[in-house]
């Protein structure tokens, strides 16, 4: 169907005679009708379960058994549990290491891709690949490369004499943390790189030329022109990525299950273990909600940033 065969009954003349108020009322009503399916769905599938789960965290509900109200019982129990605090420390460590590394590497990637290169688009597409392939593929591949039997990382490092003895990538506390961070970094760096590249490309070339004429060297140009210009993008990407890195589940769960000896146990894996292995739903929700204050701050910050950029 084309435009022409829909009705032709209300030409401009007629419409413009209508009072503005009528039209506003009409579009306001239509607007609410159009957004309502999405809003209703999100209320049913996100807001309601979240609120009712928050209530469950004040009960001793276990899977298959109704719970009784125990007030702050779960939270008090958490505060006394060393494992909970260990998971909190691990979450912070995992997130901090991953975010800092991704930010630095993403910045280098953006700066390189912002140069005039032969086959520029090809390099860009190739460096983007780690971010596009499904996370499960990445995790399984690294598990295979880390493997102590047949794993290629140890083989290459031994061959090139970087190490003298094979590394137990996932077996010791320190190594396991670094190994899971590496997977997150490998996957997440292109997101930083591409977003920062967008920021770099918005900087007018004249600014650099002017600075060069004034005798500014490479570092000065980077410090006084590049960094201020991409600060907003960098901050936004960092906040958004922090929210998701803090809640990363898949990488750690598949690679280490939170081990060895809980040294990679983070909020999300501890929540899962508590809910589905110990079947203690109330306590599990309390664990996942413990990170909410931080998330609220981060989400509020990100939202404000995005909305400000929008307007």
């Amino acid at each position: 169907m084309s435009i022409s065969d829909t009705s032709v009954s209300s030409p401009l003349v007629k419409r413009s005679w209508k009072s503005r108020f009528d039209l506003d009322q009409q579009t306001a009503f239509l607007g609410l009708v159009l957004v309502s399916p999405v809003v209703v769905y999100l209320l049913i599938a996100q807001a309601y379960p979240f609120a009712s789960a928050a209530f469950t965290s004040f009960t001793d509900k276990r899977i298959g058994v109704p719970g009784e109200f125990i007030g702050l019982g779960n939270y008090l129990e958490l505060a006394k549990t060393p494992l909970f605090w260990q998971a909190a420390r691990n979450s912070v460590l995992f997130t901090a290491l991953a975010i800092i590394t991704k930010l630095i590497l993403g910045m280098i990637m953006a700066l390189v891709l912002n140069q005039k290169l032969v086959l520029q688009n090809l390099w860009r597409a190739l460096l983007f690949l780690p971010w596009t392939i499904p996370t499960i593929v990445t995790v399984l591949t690294f598990q295979w490369m880390y493997s102590s039997t047949g794993g290629v990382f140890n083989y290459l490092l031994l061959q090139t004499d970087v190490i003298q003895r094979p590394i137990d990538w996932l077996g010791t506390p320190m190594n396991a943390m670094i190994s899971v961070v590496l997977v997150n970094v490998w996957r997440g760096t292109p997101f930083f790189g591409i977003s920062l590249l967008g920021g770099l490309q918005a900087i007018p070339a004249e600014q650099y030329e002017a600075a060069q004429i004034d005798g500014a060297n490479v570092w000065q140009r980077y410090w006084y022109i590049t960094l201020p210009a991409i600060r907003d993008v960098a901050l936004l990407v960092t906040i958004v990525s922090t929210i998701w890195t803090l809640n990363d589940f898949q990488i750690i769960w598949v690679l280490t299950r939170g081990g060895p000896a809980n040294t990679t146990q983070v909020f999300s894996t501890l929540t899962y273990t508590t809910a589905f292995l110990n079947l203690d739903l109330g306590l599990a929700i309390a664990i996942s909600l413990a990170a909410v204050p931080f998330l609220v701050i981060l989400i509020w910050w990100a939202t404000r940033y995005v909305l400000r950029r929008e307007s």
Partner: protein, 276 residues
């Protein structure tokens, strides 16, 4: 000046080369493992090139595992969820971008918050809800929960996309007698086509790759690709050629779709697809 230029050129290409090796080696390793014969997988000296390429990993994957069923499940869920999310989201996004109404900004903000809310916070609440609805252990449960990922994302991205489109054509169509919805259907949607297609593709890949909700809701009954593949690691000596064959087949459609979609990427879309 010229010498300095040459040095900086060299540094740039050297860094590029290092980054390409880091980014591509694991992908190369997926491919090369997938075409190795089973006996070569655990060889003491792993060969870095294909010496005896074989399709045994692929045929074993198809014949000895439930891979085909997983692909079917993942595809069904991803198509239904992304199609319906895009439909509902484009209606909402159009209203948010074009109409003035009470609560518009508030709803826009809620959708952004919903988008940023991580699955790790929601998986137990959703597990409880889906179990109560009797949808657990089936892909119907996934069809119910996956829009919590795709709807806020698509609504958010499409709102900024619609805003970037000029209203002139719409007004022209309405002057010619189109209704509001007629203008949306016949003018705005076709104009927004590339953005809608790209958003559909990103929504599809989000569902295709989802792990946590599928793990919790399906609880080992029926399986999607991510759960199935992870489940192949049971013994001490996993059959890595089969697993990597599965990894190849899982990744190829996503990479192709992304490459298609990234041609339409507008700035707003860069935020997409990281969740999880």
């Amino acid at each position: 000046m010229k010498a300095r230029h040459r040095v900086s050129q060299f540094v740039t290409y050297a860094l590029l080369a290092i980054m390409l090796v880091i980014a591509l080696f694991p992908i190369y390793w997926i491919f090369i493992t997938s075409i190795k014969p089973s006996a070569q997988i655990y060889a003491l000296v792993p060969s870095l090139w294909p010496t005896n390429p074989t399709g045994i990993g692929y045929t074993n994957l198809f014949e000895k595992t439930e891979f085909v069923a997983w692909v079917f499940n993942s595809a069904i869920v991803a198509i239904i969820v992304s199609a319906s999310s895009i439909f509902l989201s484009s209606l909402a996004a159009y209203a948010l971008a074009r109409f003035q109404f009470a609560g518009r900004e508030f709803i826009g903000m809620l959708i952004l918050v919903a988008y940023l809310l991580p699955p790790a916070l929601l998986f137990i609440p959703l597990y409880i809800l889906v179990t109560r609805l009797g949808l657990a252990q089936s892909i119907v449960g996934l069809v119910f929960v996956y829009p919590t990922i795709t709807v806020p994302y698509a609504t958010w991205v499409l709102t900024s996309y619609f805003r970037s489109l000029s209203v002139d054509f719409e007004e022209a169509a309405m002057i010619d007698g189109c209704s509001r919805l007629g203008a949306l259907r016949h003018v705005t949607l076709p104009l927004a086509g590339p953005g809608v297609v790209a958003t559909f593709i990103f929504a599809f890949t989000l569902c295709w790759s989802e792990y946590l909700y599928a793990l919790v809701i399906l609880s080992g009954q029926t399986q999607t690709i991510p759960i199935g593949l992870a489940g192949l690691i049971v013994a001490d000596v996993p059959k890595w050629n089969e697993i990597m064959a599965g990894a190849m087949i899982t990744s190829i459609p996503v990479v192709i779709l992304y490459t298609v979609a990234s041609r339409y990427i507008v700035s707003g879309l860069t935020l997409g697809g990281v969740k999880g």
